[in-house]
């Protein structure tokens, strides 16, 4: 009897934690279909009009466009720099390797406020202009860490003797990379790119410091939040959430498959 009771207790506790975790996402999605703009109790779902208003909202659409541009450019930079760095870290031992790795990880472990603030001190001191370019620098710096981590995971998983065999058969490093290494890691890199886009799309803490006249989507939403909540914010939020969930789904299918198998 006591065992039965404690088992019920466990389930109630776990259910409470799960409700705590899911409640905010559920209400955001629920109220994005709300008929009234007041979002009072009880919710009254049954309209798609807020989604229509999002697409008619020039500030939000402009923000989405800027965010998409920032995300794509930052991810390209992060892969262009992070992929070779990941290869170098995996293949070679060199002086200062641990320090190099730790420094690349730093933007990931330090809070966003510090990343944004330190970058802003440079911008102020050198009197650079704040623009989407400075936002891209902030985002790319953070995403390099994501790519390097992903590279470390994927390089640890697959059989390096294939590369050695290609070398023994006379392929040079570049041919080996194109024909042997790349086919083995491209799914993981694609996954990291999607994860990077999802991270960039919702980055707020760094962005507020370095954003110029053109706002990214989270900045538009943030200034809306400072005034009042509107169901439009819920609608665009639900769309971004669905997009990131799809992106994470792809990432876990391509990129994290190795992780799960380990």
């Amino acid at each position: 009897m006591r065992a039965r009771l404690s088992s019920v207790g466990v389930w109630v506790g776990i259910a409470a934690i799960m409700i705590f975790l899911f409640a905010p996402a559920i209400v955001v999605a629920l109220y994005s279909f709300n008929k009234s703009s007041l979002m009072g109790w009880p919710p009254d779902p049954g309209t798609l009009s807020w989604y229509g208003k999002v697409f008619a909202n020039t500030a939000m659409m402009e923000g989405l466009k800027n965010s998409a541009f920032v995300a794509v450019v930052s991810v390209v930079i992060a892969i262009a720099l992070g992929l070779p760095a990941g290869l170098g870290i995996d293949r070679y031992d060199f002086w200062g390797k641990t320090t190099f790795q730790r420094i690349l990880m730093l933007p990931f472990v330090l809070p966003g406020v510090i990343g944004g603030l330190t970058l802003l001190t440079v911008i102020l001191d050198f009197q650079f202009e704040l623009s989407l370019k400075t936002v891209i620098v902030a985002h790319a710096t953070m995403l390099i860490a994501v790519v390097v981590i992903q590279m470390a995971v994927v390089m640890a998983r697959w059989d390096h003797s294939l590369e050695e065999a290609a070398g023994d058969l006379g392929a040079n490093e570049i041919r080996t990379f194109i024909h042997v290494t790349w086919p083995n890691i491209k799914a993981a890199i694609f996954g990291a790119a999607l994860l990077g886009v999802a991270v960039s799309l919702e980055e707020t803490a760094r962005t507020t410091f370095v954003v110029g006249e053109k706002d990214t989507l989270p900045i538009v939403v943030l200034s809306g939040l400072r005034r009042t909540l509107t169901p439009e914010i819920n609608a665009i939020g639900t769309l971004v959430l669905v997009f990131s969930l799809v992106a994470i789904g792809f990432w876990s299918k391509f990129g994290a498959a190795d992780l799960a198998r380990s």
Partner: protein, 311 residues
């Protein structure tokens, strides 16, 4: 080409130089620049670099700043404790109670935590607001006569939101270390007559200590560095040190003081990040001591008692 093939250092250079240069410019240099600015002063709307500790003196002698530091540290500790004490049972449940489709459970939790900063805040405002869901339910079942506005825009709301945000950083490391706890060890303890609590405290906890510390430190760092939740769900009294740093820049007040706050925050965060390696070392020492004792009493296979604690 042959030159590159001959010299390994050239190969390394080609691969890591782009990232190293980027990191030098945009990670290392900005920290130096912040330190330099923290030692400067603002005079007649111009930065004057005169290598003074005046800004740090301002921070540590003015109760506006010291109170904010104290508040942020305290809230960080509370959030760390809450995030870990919610993550631990959840990770334990998924690892040891869920027999099939653990992956689905893990995925569901990650999905819930992938809400992002702003949406999390929007969601909690809808839940806690005067016309919100919780007020609606409480008045509906008769606990409250009238909806209360006291649920949101206060310290508790900030802690709730930050705990939710911090769980994405505390749950994953805790879940990962728990996956490495060998089930047969728990079964062995059960077979030898250990109660469920004793299994958890004496077998599981020593094996997951380092992961729990990492989760707690990440949660602390998130809360300590957060400046959005206090402004969006808190009251003026819940503004933390990160808000003061952001405020100095946002309102163009005193950049050097803002930079100095940033430097103080970096020091606090780096100190916090040193905790997990420290705990790992202590655990190693402790397990070595315990193994010595076990040799006299009941022998424990070295692979079982040593490995987990080190990992």
């Amino acid at each position: 080409m042959t030159l590159i093939r001959k010299h390994r250092w050239l190969q390394v250079l080609i691969l890591i130089a782009p990232a190293a240069i980027w990191g030098a410019f945009f990670i290392v240099f900005p920290v130096f620049e912040a330190v330099k600015m923290s030692l400067s002063q603002m005079q007649y709307y111009h930065l004057v670099s005169n290598w003074t500790l005046e800004n740090f003196h301002t921070i540590f002698s003015n109760s506006l700043y010291t109170d904010a530091i104290e508040r942020s540290v305290t809230r960080g500790l509370i959030v760390a404790v809450l995030a870990v004490s919610l993550s631990l049972p959840l990770a334990h449940f998924i690892s040891f109670r869920v027999k099939r489709r653990q992956f689905v459970w893990f995925g569901a939790v990650v999905v819930a935590l992938w809400l992002g900063y702003l949406l999390c805040i929007v969601g909690w405002r809808l839940l806690l607001g005067r016309d919100g869901v919780i007020n609606g339910i409480l008045t509906g079942i008769g606990v409250l006569k009238h909806p209360t506005g006291g649920l949101v825009f206060n310290e508790v709301a900030v802690i709730i939101v930050q705990t939710h945000l911090a769980m994405s950083f505390s749950f994953i490391p805790i879940f990962v270390v728990m996956q490495r706890v060998p089930h047969r060890l728990m079964h062995a303890a059960a077979d030898l007559g250990a109660s469920r609590w004793r299994q958890i405290i004496e077998v599981e906890m020593p094996l997951i200590g380092v992961g729990v510390t990492i989760g707690a430190v990440f949660a602390f760092v998130l809360s300590f560095g957060d400046y959005l939740a206090p402004t969006l769900v808190g009251d003026p009294g819940s503004l933390g040190i990160a808000n003061l740093a952001a405020g100095e820049f946002e309102h163009g007040l005193d950049w050097p003081v803002g930079a100095a706050i940033g430097v103080v925050m970096i020091v606090v965060v780096l100190l916090a990040l040193m905790l997990p390696p420290l705990v790992a070392v202590i655990y190693k020492q402790m397990s070595r001591l315990r193994m010595g004792r076990n040799v006299q009493g009941v022998a424990v296979p070295a692979t079982l008692s040593g490995d987990g604690a080190a990992g």
